[in-house]
């Protein structure tokens, strides 16, 4: 009887143990690590035979060649810098870690803001990790890896003693910006006056020589300047806006497996604090990465489907401005004129609602200003004429003095 009871107890204990272990096993099976290992194993298994086949998947090709070509910047302080043959920075470290994860060597290729998308699309690099903000417009050109490996924002830099802390302090302020910066429209909508520069590298100098009181630019750009005590003592970040997630990017065609593998790699790098460690080593702002580290440790995100779970990943930034009701006609007119006469005409003030509104207000205000200036000139002229032509010195002399001062 005792033996039977013991046997039943053992069986029950084993059954309970198996039942308890089953979900863990299931969770492990669904982990990104398992999925990545399976994907790489599958690609490696196909590699020997598929290496010579035309049109093979990029991941297989990378494993066949034993190297991955990664486009990184070489003149972006803290993120990608090249001194001779040595490269360093946050993105360089990420690139090396990705290659290690795949078990291949890394071949660095220098890219910049103008070339990075074209080089990915033209298969001159397998992957770009190049300070590239993920916005909806770029989704059509390249495949962005989720989750994002960094996030930047536009930050307003000014002297420490300048009383600017929020949007309501902005109207009437002149802010130095670079042409084409996506956040300029938001600055304008808050009543800022903009001073335009072609290159961001000019902004710190213009702040220091006081040409600019305020400058707006990506915080990752200013990060290196704030490591210089002389700059950091004089200037500070007033506030930030317009957060942009940064994404690694691969080509849209032939990269399904590679993109999937990178999604899983990125997930595990967030979960395990790999990105966070690289950020700290390179003195890059780590606030976003700390938050992402917590997100990717959550059970619902730490799965092989985490990179498609909308509760875990960030959306692409939508920078599309609302078009006017006649934007299509304007575009058709521009295209027609180019086709007919070869004239490359651009009418941006007619295409987006914010630009159209600015343009209309500008025309009305200019006409008001011109009418006002003409009226004021006439009235002041008549009044000064009477006063200066007066026979009374007490009337004539003060006005003469004022005229001399104004002239």
């Amino acid at each position: 009887m005792l033996t039977l009871t013991h046997t039943l107890a053992y069986v029950l204990a084993i059954a309970i143990g198996l039942l308890a272990a089953l979900p863990v096993q299931a969770r492990e099976d669904q982990s990104p690590d398992t999925a990545l290992a399976g994907l790489l194993q599958e690609a490696r298994a196909a590699a020997p035979g598929a290496c010579t086949l035309p049109g093979i998947h990029r991941l297989t090709r990378i494993l066949c060649s034993g190297r991955i070509r990664i486009g990184v910047p070489d003149r972006y302080p803290l993120f990608g810098i090249r001194r001779g043959e040595t490269r360093q920075g946050y993105e360089v470290d990420v690139a090396r870690a990705v290659a290690r994860k795949f078990g291949v060597d890394v071949e660095f290729v220098t890219v910049n803001a103008a070339s990075r998308i074209a080089m990915v699309a033209d298969d001159r690099v397998d992957l770009a990790i190049a300070t590239m903000g993920h916005n909806a417009q770029r989704d059509g050109a390249v495949r962005f890896i989720r989750p994002h490996y960094y996030q930047s924002e536009t930050t307003l830099i000014a002297p420490r003693d300048l009383a600017v802390a929020e949007w309501r302090d902005i109207p009437g302020q002149t802010i130095c910006v670079t042409v084409g910066n996506g956040s300029n429209a938001e600055l304008v909508s808050h009543g800022a006056r903009l001073m335009l520069f072609d290159e961001a590298v000019l902004l710190p100098d213009r702040l220091q020589d006081q040409t600019c009181t305020l400058a707006a630019q990506d915080d990752s750009f200013f990060a290196s300047y704030f490591t210089e005590p002389r700059f950091a003592d004089r200037f500070t970040q007033k506030f930030g806006f317009g957060q942009v997630p940064w994404g690694m990017a691969v080509a849209r065609d032939g990269s399904e497996q590679l993109a999937r593998a990178l999604d899983l790699v990125s997930q595990t790098f967030h979960r395990d604090g790999v990105f966070l460690e690289f950020a700290r080593v390179n003195r890059v702002s780590a606030g976003f990465l700390e938050r992402q580290n917590a997100v990717w440790q959550r059970p619902e995100c730490n799965t092989d489907a985490g990179s498609t779970n909308l509760a875990c990943i960030l959306p692409a930034l939508n920078t599309t401005l609302q078009p006017t009701s006649f934007a299509d006609h304007v575009t058709a007119f521009e295209s027609g004129l180019e086709a007919w006469a070869g004239i490359d005409l651009a009418l941006p003030m007619l295409k987006t609602a914010s630009a159209w509104s600015l343009f209309q207000n500008g025309v009305v205000n200019s006409l008001v200003l011109i009418a006002g200036a003409l009226t004021a000139t006439l009235l002041v002229g008549l009044a000064f004429g009477v006063a200066l032509g007066s026979r009374f010195r007490l009337v004539r002399w003060p006005v003469r003095g004022l005229t001399i001062a104004l002239q």
Binding site: V177, L194, L196, A373, A376, T377, G385
Partner: protein
Amino acid sequence: MLTLVIAAAVIRPMFGYSSAVALAASIAALGLSNGSNAGQAISEAIVTIRAERAASSMGGIELFSRALGRSATQIVAFLINAAKGTPIASFIGAPELLSALTDIASFSSGRVTIYSLLLIFYTAVVMVVVWICGKFRSFLERSHAPI
């Protein structure tokens, strides 16, 4: 330019910053700088007519209106100058066309077209102002032809 900056510096602390304040400061500055020159031209015409007609009993309104007729060309020149000078108001943040187009250029492509449009706008405006001033000058000269 200096008058404009001083006008903005005086008006802003009194009323704070707004588009209307920047426009008002610009109008005041342009009116004062060009009006003072026009006023001097009128006063010189008054002095000249007074010297020419020392023996006559001409004075008051008649003298002034004749001085206006004599200085009409200079007045018109300063009016046109005032109209042409309005884009400078963008320097103190007046939200006029130059300022608006600079803002548009900051987040759009097509800078060449944008600033070409500005050139066309001001050319057209100045042509209209010249035409109106021409009518005004003809009126002054017809009304007060030199004796």
